[in-house]
Every structure is written in C-alpha cells, then in structure tokens.
C-alpha cells in the first residue's frame, strides 16, 4: 500500500479498504526502519497519530475534507510549523519552534493531510547534495537497492552510498523510500527538481507567485518557490491545485486564472512542440545523460510531437549571475539571525557587537558564512553596479530568452536536470559546496532566474518544471502552460511504462 500514489491511497481510504491510522502507523514504521537514510530531522509521531485519528473519523462519517484527507506527508525543515521544531538544518535554529504554520503547510493540514515529520536539507537550503546539514547528510534510498549493491559488492553500505541531491534531499528521499506520499520542498535554483530527479520521484517547481512563500524561511526571496514532490504527475497536479492561489500574507503571490490542475483524459501529442535548447549541451554533460536526453526527444518525435532545436543564448551566463544574486539576498536575509529574538545565542556577552559576531560564527556553517561574506561584498556601494545591477540585467535577458522561445510556438522545453547521475557521497565531497552548486544547478536555475518578479504585469510566463525518472536518468520539462506540461509528463510516463516507485517498492530497504 505504501508504494501507491495519492490517488490510489485516497480512494482506498474513502472506500474503507484502509484506515487512516493504520496508514499513518505504517509510514511511521517505515521512517523508523529507514532511519539510516537520515531523511528526517523531526518525526512528529504523536501529532501525526492524532491527525490520522481525526481524519479517520471524517472518513468513517463519509465526510473527508478532500483528496488529501488522511494522506501522510512530510515537510522540508525550512517551512515553519507551529510549535514543531524548525531548524533549517542549522545550529542557529536548533530548538526553534515557530509560533505559526507556513501557508502551504496550513493548506495541507486544512485538507486533513497527516504531517509525519520534517525532512533533512543542506543548511538553510544552501547546497545541492543535502550533505551540508548540521544533522549529517541524507542518503539516497536507491543506494540500498539490490541492483545498486550488486554493482559494488565489496563496499560497505555505510560508507558507499549515493547522495540524494539537494537541497530538498530529505523530502525526496522520504517520498522515494515510501515514508510519505508527498513532501514539500523548496526550489531556489533547482533544490526540489535536483533531488527529485536523483531520487526518482516527480518534483514540481511551480511558477513564482503561484504558491505562497509565507512561512518558508527564505534563501533568495526573488527566486524561492515551494516545491511539490510526489510519486506521480497526477498527484503533483492534485497537490498543486490545493496549494496554489493568492495569499494576502505574501504580496508576491498572484491569482492565476484558468489554472487547470486536473489532467486531460485525451490529448493529442501531435499538437505539442518540444524545444531542445542547444546551449544545454554543456561542458561536463555525461554521455549517459546525453543519450537519455536524445532517447526521450526521439520518443516524443515518434509519438507525433514536433521536436525542434531552440536557442536560449543567455542561459549560459545564468549560473554566475545566480551566484551573485543568491549571495546578496542571503547576506540580507541572514542579518536577522543575531541571537536576540530567537535561535542560538552565544555565551559571549561582553558587548552587543561581540554577541552578534560569536552568535553568527557559532550558528552558521562555513557555507552560509561564505555566502554572507560574498553577498555583503557584492552589495557594497562601490561594487553594487558592477555585480548586483549587472546580474539583474543579465537576468532580464534570460527571462527574455524564455519568453521569445515560447512565443515562437514552443510548448515545452526538454532538458536534462543534472549533468550526470547521482554521485557517490565520497566522490561528491571531494569538491566544495560552491563548486558543486555551480555544477548541479547549471540546468535548473535559469528558470528561477527567469521567474517573474513583477506579478502585476499582464502576461505572465509560467515556468513550471517536472522531473521524471528512468532509473536515475532524469529530464525536466519547462513550459508555458501547465496543461502542456502535464500532458507531456504524462505522455512521457505512458511511453516508458515504468513507475520507478513501483520498482523501488519492490526493493528491500
């Protein structure tokens, strides 16, 4: 039962074939059994059981709140959860219990979904491996499948495993390891899509402004988006339908009219034009990934879709600009962590300045401190025009690239998510966080950069992306209209006939 989709399990709950408490217990048991994945920071066992009981009552009376009633989910530990510890995987926020729920969390709870725990991430979501957490790295569930173990029989499973990707690695691992049916991640430069692809689950980065960021502890406000991780495209659409909408607590959200979150029953793939951006043949792209990319493209072609090469000329500069803007906003957003109102406070209290300095030194890891330092450098009066303003200008050109391509008749873009397959932890940590982020986010962050910052403009380009997996070779599509994206993802699924999660469910974890 755990390996099914939300749609299936929701039906079972409503038909009484499965009780919500039983399902919740199973998930909690699964979490315990897979604790070595280190995908959870906090398991909310007691609260989950209470919520499951309430859901069960509603289901028994035949009055569920909706399609998510009684369905277990988990949340990345950078979303605020009322009275539940929210750490951002940082020493700075250890023990911090927010007094409110993030809007997206509240919406899921209002639907009767059952929160089983808070998941692991890179500290303050800064990373692409989920390896830089104060609670230790998260491990990719696929490392414990027999097929993977057979490849390297001489290795000890505790030292030889692959990373989940990041920074929402815990959320992706939780869904992949069947500990929950859906999970919230956050996506700033690829942080939901990257682990989604490396863990073989569906990961959706909705358009900026579609989902509320209220309660999401920010990395880069102008690019952060709550991400959705599920085991099927249909499920992602269902969750998106629940979460989307204007929130008066987030002034950057907008009401998208005519947002279709249900999948079309019959669609004609021949109406779809798939764009292949030539610039994405980037240095470092692995042969395997390139082969897979070509395979999927020809699959679309065979099915009748138009496939054509397109150009996004400025996206090659995106990662550098992303780095500048990211650091600048990080420096600003992290200024609030001074140990006065909440979070870690240093014992050094000789002066206010000394308290700040030691609190921040002790509270943040090296990655966070480095980004704060660079960000403040970029924002200095003498540097502002040379870095921040330039990066914003390139950002506009990148957005323009996407707009032009979609205006030329392209419905979806087909690109790889990452340069190559999930790396072994021991290999991954050979390079520092900065280098890895630059490599891992190369394909994913352009859409965050292109995401609109001015929701009042009438024509809003919608860049939603979905990953799919065929044993860890992943592709994402980015498209203008959600319906097209859904259609293509579904088409992709049907063509491949292999639900990775079903495969994973059969493995011994």
């Amino acid at each position: 039962m755990l390996g099914t989709t939300i749609r299936e399990v929701s039906l079972a709950l409503r038909e009484g074939r499965l009780s919500a408490t039983e399902l919740c217990k199973k998930c909690l048991k699964r979490i315990k059994k897979t604790h070595y994945l280190n995908s959870f920071i906090t398991v909310t066992e007691e609260l989950a059981m209470k919520q499951a009981q309430e859901a069960e009552h509603r289901l028994l009376r035949g009055k569920p709140h909706g399609p998510l009633d009684g369905v277990p989910f988990s949340v990345k530990d950078n979303f605020c959860t009322e009275n539940i510890e929210t750490t951002c995987a940082s020493h700075m926020l250890k023990g911090y219990c927010p007094p409110f729920n993030a809007t997206v969390v509240q919406k899921l709870l209002d639907q009767g979904a059952v929160l089983v725990g808070k998941t692991n991430l890179d500290e303050f979501a800064m990373g692409s491996g989920s390896t830089d957490s104060v609670f230790g790295p998260a491990r990719n569930p696929w490392s414990y499948t027999s097929s993977y173990r057979e490849q390297s029989p001489e290795q000890d499973p505790d030292s030889d495993w692959v990373i989940t990707g990041g920074s929402s690695g815990g959320s992706a691992a939780a869904v992949a390891s069947l500990s929950s049916f859906m999970a919230l991640g956050s996506d700033t430069g690829g942080s939901t899509r990257n682990p989604g692809s490396l863990c073989g689950v569906v990961a959706l980065k909705p358009t900026y402004g579609l989902l509320s960021r209220h309660g999401l502890i920010p990395l880069v406000n102008s690019m952060d988006v709550p991400g959705i991780i599920t085991r099927s495209v249909q499920d992602a659409a269902t969750v998106l339908g629940v979460l989307q909408g204007r929130d008066e607590k987030d002034s950057t959200t907008v009401q998208f009219p005519n947002l279709a979150t249900s999948l079309p029953e019959d669609f004609d793939i021949r109406d779809i034009c798939v764009g292949i951006p030539k610039e994405y043949h980037a240095p470092g792209l692995s042969a395997e990934t390139l082969t897979q990319w070509g395979r999927v493209a020809s699959m679309f072609e065979r099915a009748g879709a138009k496939v054509r090469e397109v150009s996004l000329p400025h996206t090659q500069h995106s990662i550098v600009c992303y780095h500048v803007l990211c650091c600048a906003e990080v420096a600003s957003n992290m200024a609030r962590f001074d140990g006065l109102e909440y979070g870690h406070r240093s014992a050094v209290e000789s002066s206010t300045e000394a308290l700040y300095a030691t609190t921040r030194h002790e509270g943040f890891n090296h990655v966070v401190r480095t980004r704060i330092l660079s960000g403040n450098y970029f924002l200095l009066k003498q540097n502002y025009d040379r870095y921040f303003v330039k990066a914003q200008q390139i950002r506009r050109l990148i957005a323009e690239d996407f707009r032009r391509v979609f205006q030329s008749g392209v419905d979806v873009l087909l690109t790889p998510t990452t340069l190559s397959d999930a790396a072994r932890y021991s290999d991954f940590i050979q390079e520092d966080n900065r280098t890895r982020s630059a490599q891992e986010d190369i394909f994913t962050q352009p859409v965050n950069m292109a995401g609109t910052r001015h929701p009042h403009r009438s024509e809003i380009p919608t860049y939603s992306t979905v990953q799919n997996l065929e044993t860890a070779h992943i592709y994402f599509t980015s498209c203008q209209r959600w319906k097209n994206l859904n259609t293509c993802s579904l088409c992709f699924r049907r063509c491949f006939h292999s639900l990775s999660t079903v495969f994973l469910a059969k493995q011994r974890l």
Binding site: F79, S251, S332
Partner: protein
C-alpha cells in the same frame, strides 16, 4: 577696530598681486566695515610694502537642510497588523514580522500609503505613480531584521514645496515669508527602542515602535538659521496635524528632526556638513542649529576643518556633541526589497488597469478632493474675513483649537472680530500660558464668554465685572462648594481615578467644568483633583 575679519582658508580671499602661497601670514588681518567690497589695502609682506586690491568675501553663514521623520497616524504598523500605541507595556504590540521571525513577509498598509500621498499633495509634490521599496542594512539591537525597509531609489513623492513664515526683523514683529523645497517623501519602518541599563551593563529592547510607519521628509538646504528651520518645522507640524497624517507630538517622538548643517560664504561651494540628531522640540531645533552654525564658524575661524560627522544635541547644555562610536560613516548595502512588488497609485478610477479592484488601490483624485483647509489658506482666510492682523492669524492657527474657538465666539456674540481678537491675544492667551494650561479646556468657555460679549455690545457702559455678576457667570468662589463638586466627580469616575495618569486628570477637570458650567478656577480645581487622586 570696529570689525575684524580673519582670513580663514586660502580660497576665502583673492589677492591680486601676491603669490597665492605667500599671502597669508598668520598675522594677516584685513580690516573693513562691510563684506563683499574691494578695498585698497596696505599690507606688510615679507618683501616690503605692497599696495594691492583685495577682495573680501562675504561673512560665513549657515546652510541648513532638514530630514524629518514623521510617524504616520494609523491604527496598525507599516507592514504588519500590530497596533500602533504609545503608552503600552514593552513588547506588547509586536507582530511576528516586527520581531523578524524567519519566514514572515511584509504586507503594505494601505492607510500608510494614503497618508504619504495626502502629505505629498499638501506640499504640491509630484506623486510617483510607481514607487519602490529597498532594504537598508545595519546591525542594531532595536532593528531585529538587520535592515530597514525604506524607499531609497524611487520614493512615493518628490519635488514639493513648503511655504512658511516667521516673525523676524528688528523687534520680531515682522512676518518673514520663506519657502523650502521638499526633495522627497519616502515611506519607511521605524525602529524599536533600546534602553541602556549602564548599572547592569545590559540593553533592554522594546519593539512596540519597531515597524511603525514613518514618512521621511527630506528638505533641501534652503534655510540659513535656526529660526527659519524651527519655523519650517512648526509649519510642517501644523500641516501634518491638519491632514491628520501625523499627530506631530515631538516630545513623544512622533515628529523627529535631524538637521544637516554647514557653513560657507555665499557664492562659494557648500562647506562640509554635520548631521545633528536628537532634537525633540521646535525650540531646540533653533537652538541646536544656531549652536552648530556658530561652532562650525569658530572651528573654521581658528584654522580648523569641519568633520563630516553625526552630532547629538544635548538640550541641557544647549550644545551639540559628536556621536563618534556608532553612527559613523556606514555602507548601508542597499538592495531592492524582494518581497514587495512595486507600489502603484492611480490618478483616478479610470486609470486603474483591468483586473485590479479599484477599492484595493490608492486613488489620488479622491484623496485630493478630501484635503482639509491647510494652515496657510486658513490664515489668509482669517485675515480676509475678519480683517485681523497677519501675525494674529499666526497665533490663532498655531494654538490647537483656537481658530474654532475664536470663530464660535464671533458667531455667538456677533461681536466685532477685531475686538475679540484683541482680547484673545492678550487676556486669554497670556492667562492660559501663565497657568500652563492646554488649550483643550478652552472649549468649555465660548458660550459663557460670548454671553458677556453680547451684553457688552448691548450695554457698553457696563463693565465686564458688572456683567459677570449680573449674569452669574463669575467663578465659583465658595471653597466648600468646589470641594464637594470635585469629590462628586472623583467618586463618579472610579475607573479613571484608578488609572491615575495626567490624561485622566484632564478628563476629571473637564467633568468639574461641566458641573460648574466652566466657572471653576482651573488652577484650583487641578490642585484639588491632584490631591484627591494621588
């Protein structure tokens, strides 16, 4: 010598025949009665006797610009829903955003935007249809987010004008009219308050004020002395109060003035400026600025240079002192505020784009139509309508509620306005000031007073004293009776008595005056009530 000009800097005088490096021996003194003239002079130089022309630059004079922070009169803060209060327990009005809890986002308060637009319109500003918010970074304990949200790049209103007047001239009896340009009005957040407890070497933070909406009004350096600046501040205060966009109480920090002061000789580039902070009354504005101008002149005259720094006004000593430690030159690392989309205001309903609810936006034409009578217009009307002197119109408008009082007396008594104004100016105001009473109590009296005026009009031969006696309008002189009335008021207002602050006392005084139809001696009543409630 009747006047001595000391040559201060090499550029302060031009010497026709001397080597520029050789001109100023420390002993050089140039004598003359008036500045700005060309004098033939005899100068004893090192190489003998020279006959030359020397141009004397005008005297050093002050240049003053103001930055005024006005707390917006609104129910809730600029970006959060917590209440704006002055007298409430520390940290009792703090929303999650005000304490900068991670994950919170700012939501702009429409009332604050309207207040800024109304204020901008009152000063004939250009209202920017689109304005932007920025983050200004600095670490300070009462600024929990580590940055202030302000409008650095594109403020809501620009290019305004403030006309003001003050009494100047020889006997301070002449109305001097001036104008100062308003560079911009920007919306921004107030900070919290720090309380330094030196004894226990700790700092206590109160965040009640953190996030309260401010309008920062930046005035160009168009003023030259303390009197002008103080008059500009006073006029601004009256206008804001008339608009009700700021309550304008300087002692409560609702209106805070920073002055940028420099000195130069007219026609020359501006000197190095200092910023004087911590000025909390209009009177201190004048004193602080005049002190600072004199200080800078002295520094320059003694051969020193003015340092670009922030100074605090100490109202006890009447001096300004350098605030070296914290407010030095900072790099604020400005950055666009990413959580707030551009702020749009619209000309009228017709200009609101499709898909935007007109009820949710700020419409300039509506606000413009509701602008009240501003002090300047009001003074002109008083002078015109009642034929009173311009300086009297100033006094009337400056005192809270006095215009209404004056007009009611005239209306009720059908009296000659110029007679009434004479009485108001001399008797009423001097009595009020002598007894340290706020004009709020005035409203108890006009009916009584107008009765007297009316009778005087009818029977000019009778004295006021006679009339008062005849009409039984005299003061309640019976101590016993007054005591009883006061006691009754205290007994019937137990709640107020319990709260026991100054405001409450005013309320009780009002009740006593009501009982006695305004015939109790306020000073006596105040004393009695204070005794009873303490």
């Amino acid at each position: 010598m009747s006047a001595v000009f000391s040559c201060v800097t090499p550029r302060s005088a031009v010497c026709a025949h001397l080597d520029p490096h050789d001109r100023f021996s420390p002993a050089l003194r140039v004598t003359g009665k008036r500045a700005g003239l060309v004098f033939p002079l005899l100068i004893q130089g090192s190489s003998g006797l020279f006959f030359c022309f020397i141009s004397i630059s005008p005297q050093l004079c002050g240049v003053v610009g103001l930055e005024i922070h006005a707390q917006i009169h609104s129910n809730s803060k600029l970006f959060s829903s917590s209440r704006v209060t002055f007298y409430s327990p520390p940290n009792s009005s703090v929303a999650f955003l005000d304490a900068s809890l991670p994950g919170t986002l700012p939501v702009l308060n429409k009332r604050c935007v309207e207040a800024a637009v109304i204020t901008g319109l009152a000063f004939n500003c250009t209202i920017n249809r689109k304005s932007l918010f920025d983050r200004k970074h600095y670490f300070y304990a009462d600024m929990p987010a580590g940055y202030q949200i302000t409008q650095q790049r594109l403020p809501i209103a620009v290019n305004g004008l403030l006309n003001y007047s003050y009494l100047g001239g020889k006997k301070r009896g002449q109305v001097m009219s001036r104008r100062v340009r308003i560079k911009q009005i920007q919306l921004e957040q107030d900070s919290g308050k720090s309380l330094h407890d030196e004894q226990n070497s700790q700092t206590l933070i109160d965040l009640n004020r953190a996030g309260v909406g401010l309008m920062e009004l930046v005035m160009e350096a168009d003023m030259s002395c303390g009197d002008e600046a103080a008059a500009a501040v006073r006029e601004l205060q009256l206008i804001l109060q008339a608009l009700d966009t700021c309550q304008g109480n300087m002692s409560e920090g609702q209106l805070r003035v920073d002055a940028n002061v420099s000195v130069h000789r007219p026609g020359e580039p501006l000197g190095v400026r200092t910023e004087v902070k911590n000025i909390n009354s209009a009177r201190f504005v004048a004193r602080a600025i005049d002190y600072e101008i004199q200080r800078q002149i002295k520094v320059l005259e003694s051969g020193g240079t003015v340092v670009n720094e922030t100074r605090a006004f100490d109202n006890k000593s009447g001096t300004t002192v350098s605030m070296r430690d914290k407010e030095g030159l900072q790099d604020y690392r400005f950055m666009p505020e990413p959580n707030l989309p551009p702020l749009f205001v619209y000309e009228g309903v017709a200009s609101v784009p499709a898909g935007v609810d007109p009820a949710q936006v700020v419409l300039i034409d509506r606000l413009e139509a509701e602008l009240p009578e501003l002090p300047g217009v009001r003074r002109a009307r008083l002078v015109e309508q009642y034929r009173i002197l311009p300086e009297h119109s100033f006094t009337l408008v400056n005192e809270d509620g006095l215009v209404d009082y004056f007009e009611r007396v005239i209306q009720n008594a059908k009296a000659e306005p110029r007679k009434v104004i004479g009485w108001v100016m001399q008797e009423l105001l001097s009595n009020l000031h002598q007894q340290g009473l706020k004009n709020l109590h005035v409203h108890q009296w006009p009916m009584t007073l107008s009765a007297v005026f009316q009778e005087m009009w009818k029977t000019p031969e009778k004295t006021v004293r006679q009339l008062v006696k005849e009409l039984d309008l005299g003061l309640v002189s019976d101590q016993e009776q007054l005591l009883k009335i006061c006691q009754r008021v205290v007994d019937t207002h137990p709640e107020q008595v319990k709260a026991g602050n100054k405001k409450v006392l005013n309320k009780l005084m009002g009740a006593v005056q009501k009982e006695t139809k305004g015939r109790a001696d306020p000073v006596q009543v105040k004393a009695l009530l204070e005794k009873m409630t303490s």
